[in-house]
Amino acid sequence: MAESGARILVADDNKVNRLLLIRSLEQLGHRGAGAENGRLALELLEQQNFDLLLLDIAMPEMDGFQVLQHLTASPRLRDLPVIVTSALEDLDSVVRCIELGADDYLRKPVNPVLLRARVQSSLEKKRLRDEQREMVRRFATSEVEQDLERSGFALGGRHLTATVMFADLCGFTALCEQQSADETIELLNTYYTLMFDAISGQGGVINQMIGDGLMAIFGAPLPLADAGSRAVRAALEMIEMIELLNVERVAAGRAPLAIGVGLATGDVIAGYTGTQRRATYTCVGRTVNLAARLEAHTRVAAHAILVDDATRATLPAELATQALGAAQFKGIAGPTEVHAVAPRGAS
């Protein structure tokens, strides 16, 4: 379902217009179907999968405006791209359609060159949107996914208290140089699988992966009780997973891996950033910055898991920490008290 071979519904009460549009779409390599009013169009959209809707405004029974309103209200159909096709010269109608969520507008009689361009552009937007959703699905827990579905990927931020995690494979670049490209990708896939498992098992949401680094959030988009201790437990599990992986690696004559994890708790600004077409869930703010600095500091401090004061304060007695004293971090005002989390089983 790239630019060609899409399934497109044409809603138009005028049979001549409907047949002509379907014919034009078929000539572009798509498969077209027709509906003679808005109500029938919605029925077809509910029953079958379409990649795009070409929608007339003036129709009996249910007009184009009403169809757009129904689409917006439906979680399944909200993201269906819509091109409004109408001979209405009235600019207000077009504006209203765009406000109601239509992606584009084509004047009738439809010019075949414009039709081709608009259809391709809308299908490409849909492909990007589907890709983005799939990414979020892969990264997010099912609760978050449902939250996203409900909010319709509503852009807009809010202040939240959350624990932010940064994790990174130590010496990854050097490792890449010693092994084949296939080995590197396979290693990353194994690494991410293990890390995702540990993080989502504790209710965290991974929202960024860059090379061998990842960022996860505990307590956003949905609130999470004991976010700090959950994040620390996830970090401990991640270390244990890496140790298990190392047993295999060393047995196969490969160098063992090490990861560094930084955790900070506090206020974050969280929300979907980007555009309506391409959005990603992001957290920003001092807490995020601090977690990244703590992760980088693991190499200096020679401890795998470092947390800030706010995270340490939330931990129960069985999660022991060691105070390492204050450190000064770039971009963070004043000294920061740094604590190392003792590995499980260690004294």
Binding site: V16, N17, A87
Partner: protein, 114 residues
Amino acid sequence: MSEPTNDPIDLAVLEELQSSVGREFVDELIGTYLEETPALMAALGPARAAGEAAEFKRLAHSIKSSSSTFGAAELAGLARALELGGVPADGAPLAALDEAYGRAAARLAELRRG
């Protein structure tokens, strides 16, 4: 109003349509137009009599839209005037529309065979 010698169909528009979707398909489409449009035309009178402005506008809009597809410029222009002008006070504009449709339909039928 158009001169009697004027072709009710803008042949350039029709030819462009033919080259874009195929002559045979355009012939079929003319058939559809000739089947569908009389019902729309016939519904205008009752909508005017009943003062159903929205329905009247929708019908005029539909006639304008498909007529302009084939280059029936005079007919499309009259339909557009009805669409934008609202329900007329008397039946004269509808009679003019009927006449224009008669001319456009006859010419399209001829072009379709030829």
